[in-house]
């Protein structure tokens, strides 16, 4: 067993893990972060995506020990019902979530994509979520919502701010 320290959604947590445990397993089973979903456990579906130091990764393909000392952001770290992220607001308003099981991974992936490219085209959004499978929506309203959120974020950014 090894002791690791993670910053999960801004809160410092310490836990002991087996060296072979995945970040996904530790988040869900040891840290009760069940908002991170498990769809395939081999990097095919993107349901378990989280941000590791701001970069979107499949947490089923990372070992928990690799995240030692680093910041993990899940969908709960993007916003709350009281302080929603524009992506979350747009997903609600435009009906982008159906069964919702892919949405936590979808949202953190889009969050990272909008950080990198604040003014994406529809095609760029589709490319950003190319590794996040959704079986319900056909992706149409997800792309709509991501674009709406990007617009809202651009409008709210102070003029002259760096992108």
């Amino acid at each position: 067993m090894r002791s690791i320290e993670l910053m999960v959604n801004g809160t410092r947590v310490r836990t002991t893990v087996e060296p072979h445990e995945t970040l996904l397993g530790v988040l869900r089973q040891r840290l009760a972060a069940t908002e991170v979903k498990s769809g395939c456990e081999r990097g095919d579906c993107g349901a378990c995506a989280v941000l590791l130091d701001g970069r979107a990764i499949n947490s089923c393909l990372a070992l928990a020990v690799q995240a030692d000392g680093r910041a993990v952001t899940t969908v709960r770290g993007l916003g709350t019902p009281e302080t929603p992220h524009p992506l979350q607001t747009a997903f609600i308003e435009l009906g982008a979530a159906q069964c919702g099981i892919c949405i936590p991974g979808m949202l953190v992936t889009l969050y990272a994509a909008l950080q990198a490219h604040p003014d994406p085209s529809r095609q760029e959004i589709r490319e950003a979520i190319g590794g996040n499978l959704c079986r319900c929506t056909g992706y149409h309203k997800i792309v709509d919502a991501a674009l709406a959120a990007a617009r809202r974020l651009l409008e709210s950014r102070p003029a002259g701010a760096p992108s």
């Binding site: 769809g39 081999r42 579906c45 609600i92 159906q98 069964c99 919702g100 949405i103 490319e127």
Partner: protein
């Protein structure tokens, strides 16, 4: 609107406040904030983890099972085999079914007893303190097998000398439909088109695998919180355990996708057995590989179609043979085939029809319910046929369809009259026109094409199964409203639409309505979230209960306001005098007044669907379904001649949904259905070789990504003539049915080659293009 001749330019009777809006769903917020607790997001103190031991062989006799090594693994608490199951049989009846129809009844063993009939069949269960110990225990259950001859395709399985899965033979159901005289019909034909079509095994591939947690509650009730479309499976679990039905409770949290794959029993019976045996809480979640190799799939169909038409395109006869691969156990295969039979001639007027269908057991993975339920396979065939007929006659594919579309008041080949609006011409024309001007190829070596397909798809349960749903609506003492109904919400917005219906009738904002769903002990049963029936059935039950409560509240308010009930309306959480809006009673006061006056603040209602007689199985004549949804889809594709790769450039879908209760949800079904249909057309195939699934993960079993699916143009028409609330029809299943044939027809248009087998992979298309080249 009496038939398809007039265009639906107006949305029908209006005046809705909430119905028809793009209202955000009440469940959406929890989902986007990561707060929804799905089946596997729930845990309990002292919970054991379970694993299923599965057969590694497709056909074998079980010689011996030895669990001693498994029981010796530290942490293992329980190993169960067939011997430990009190009643080792599951019947695939439609829950609550009232009519026993021989061919519909099918049985499956809970755990394999003497033989295994498919690779992945459950043989034993292991429960342990940790998931790792359960896995280790499962590996150490020693099962000695002796291989038996297997049979892996339905045509071989029908031969008299084929290995038999059941003593009575491998054919588990035969259906037929007879109308007119097809031989006479073909004599009238100027052209005959005859082809065979094949469709593959398809996986539901919901992103949430089968999962659940179960425990023994303080009253000794086995409580199973599980990802299911059918909470009524509490009866099946109780029957297996030999317990009264009241001793098993099933709770369905919000489900991470269903599509028919959580319709049959999955993990719930295993959870029930292990709780019963250990009295400990149990968790069981399938891995993706288990989810793909073991539970039910969409049926592969072999379909032989022969159409005859006159020179002007008028259809005169069709002869159809459907063969469905039921896999190793019947599950709902006989029913699925019956659906296929009734839909087999498509939405067309054909005087002479002969349809024969057979469903056959094999040692392949079992097949059962999947969105479209036996109607998606024939749609691929009959819509390919319509295009080929048009080509043979030199006619426009759309024009040939328009000549033959059924109209309101006409009858299907099974004799069922179409009693509601049939807007097929509008849906086809609107979908086609939505694609805009023809596209040019994006580069040399690319070919573009356009295709159309129409379909009718039933919604609601077979009429002789006496379907019903119930719901309970209450005005609470704080003035808010509570709805209870046993609907499992699989992501289609099932619960949200019921809230919207309640809000419309009671004049309360949706934010003041709470809904409890999916609990077989505490919510009135509403039946299964299958067969595109929930908006129709539980929607009607909620409509009825809310209407009763509305009448009570208006009566009470009229008393308080000393006015006639006719003068009272409900709006914004209050009862208001229509002509004197300053005179009103807030719902909170109304609740107190009702209590004081001994008036109920709640209403319970049962909606019973109109019932019918069992069809005549000799002729296949009779009313089978409550109603149908009609729609069309059109596709633009681009084919790379060098690789055979197909890109879908545009998809348009147009349906008469009767009444859109939630426009976002309706469009969401149409978009998602088209995406699933695109996967069916081009990508998805569970490749099964000699009973072995070669595609056991989402790297080899390909579902569409955001880069495979174009934006889907959705056109929603509202005839107001469906069977559901305010004339709504169902859209869940219909939304995926025409996509694959529309894409196949577009590919044919692009490259001049007809592929009669799904999926249209680059390799298959490339080979077909090579074969078609003049040598």
């Amino acid at each position: 609107m009496s038939d398809g001749s007039a265009a639906p330019s107006t949305p029908g009777p209006g005046g809705f406040r909430i119905v028809g809006q793009r209202a955000p769903r009440p469940d959406a917020a929890d989902k986007v904030f990561g707060l929804t607790r799905y089946a596997d997001d729930f845990s309990m103190g002292g919970m054991l983890h379970a694993k299923v031991v599965r057969s590694p062989r497709p056909s074998a006799r079980i010689v011996r099972i030895d669990s001693t090594k498994a029981e010796a693994v530290p942490g293992v608490r329980c190993v169960l085999t067939a011997r430990d199951v009190p009643h080792n049989v599951l019947f695939s009846d439609v829950p609550g079914q009232t009519t026993t129809v021989g061919p519909l009844r099918a049985r499956t063993q809970v755990l394999a007893e003497e033989v295994v009939r498919f690779l992945g069949e459950p043989v034993a269960l292991v429960a342990a303190e940790t998931e790792e110990a359960a896995e280790e225990g499962a590996r150490r259950v020693t099962v000695e097998y002796a291989d038996l001859p297997g049979v892996f395709d339905p045509e071989t399985a029908m031969r008299p000398d084929a290995p038999r899965l059941e003593p009575t033979g491998n054919v588990i159901s035969r259906w037929k439909i007879r109308k007119g005289d097809v031989e006479a019909g073909f004599r009238e034909a100027d052209v005959v088109v005859e082809r065979s079509y094949r469709t593959p095994f398809v996986d539901h591939a919901f992103i949430e695998p089968e999962a659940g947690v179960a425990w023994l509650d303080e009253n000794g009730v086995i409580t199973i919180r599980v990802a299911t479309q059918v909470i009524e499976h509490f009866r099946d679990v109780a029957n297996v355990l030999g317990l009264p039905h009241s001793r098993v409770r099933i709770i369905a949290p919000y489900i991470g996708g269903g599509f028919g794959g959580k319709e049959d029993v999955t993990v719930e019976v295993f959870l029930g057995l292990l709780v019963w045996k250990t009295t400990r809480p149990i968790r069981l979640c399938y891995s993706r590989e288990e989810s793909i190799i073991s539970p039910t799939k969409r049926h592969p169909f072999i379909m032989r179609y022969k159409h005859g038409a006159r020179r002007d395109g008028t259809l005169v006869a069709v002869e159809v043979e459907l063969i469905s691969d039921a896999g190793a156990y019947a599950y709902l295969s006989p029913l699925t085939l019956l659906y296929g039979m009734v839909h087999a001639a498509g939405p067309y007027r054909i005087p002479h029809v002969k349809v024969d269908g057979v469903s056959v057991l094999t040692n392949n993975p079992p097949t059962s319910a999947f969105r479209g339920f036996g109607s998606a396979q024939p749609a691929f065939a009959y819509e390919s046929q319509m295009d080929e007929l048009a080509r043979a006659l030199g006619l426009d594919p759309l024009a040939v369809r328009e000549r033959n579309y059924l109209r309101k008041g006409e009858r299907l080949a099974s004799g069922q009259e179409l009693e509601t609006a049939v807007w097929l011409p509008e849906t086809a024309r609107r979908a086609w026109d939505a694609l805009g001007p023809p596209r040019a190829p994006s580069a040399p070596g690319k070919r573009v094409g356009r295709g159309i397909a129409s379909a009718l798809t039933s919604y609601g349960r077979i009429v002789w199964l006496h379907d019903w749903a119930s719901a309970w609506v209450e005005l609470q003492m704080d003035g808010t409203v509570l709805v209870r109904t046993g609907v499992p919400d699989i992501g289609g917005g099932q619960a949200a639409s019921l809230v919207q219906i309640t809000a419309e009738l009671l004049g309360v904002p949706q934010s003041d309505i709470a809904i409890h769903i999916g609990d077989s002990a505490l919510t009135p049963l509403a039946g299964t979230t299958t067969a595109t029936r929930q908006l129709y059935m539980s929607g009607s039950a909620v409509h009825k209960a809310a209407s009763e409560l509305r009448a009570t509240l208006i009566t009470q308010a009229a008393d308080l306001l000393a006015a006639s009930p006719d003068a009272v309306e409900l709006a914004d959480g209050a009862a208001v005098l229509r002509d004197a809006p300053d005179r009103q009673v807030a719902f909170r006061e109304l609740a107190v007044a009702c209590a004081r006056a001994h008036r109920p603040r709640s209403a319970f209602a049962i909606y019973q669907a109109p019932a019918g007689q069992v069809m005549d199985f000799e002729t296949g004549q009779g009313k089978v379904f409550p109603d149908f949804t009609f729609g069309s889809q059109a596709a633009d594709v681009e084919v790379d001649e060098a690789t055979g790769e197909v890109a879908v450039l545009a998809l348009a879908a147009c349906y008469d949904v009767g009444r859109a209760i939630n426009l976002n949800s309706v469009e969401g079904q149409m978009e998602g259905g088209a995406a699933m249909g695109l996967g069916y057309a081009l990508l998805e195939e569970d490749r099964v070789a000699e009973g072995v699934t070669l595609t056991p993960n989402l790297m080899t079993y390909l579902i569409p990504t955001a880069l495979d699916v174009p934006d889907v143009t959705t056109i929603v028409l509202e005839s107001g003539e469906g069977m559901g609330p305010w004339g709504a029809r169902g859209i869940g299943e219909p939304a995926m049915v025409p996509t694959a044939p529309a894409i196949a027809n577009a590919v044919r248009d692009a490259v001049g080659v007809r592929l009669t087998r799904l999926p249209i992979t680059p390799e298959r298309l490339w080979r077909a293009m090579q074969d078609a080249r003049p040598s």
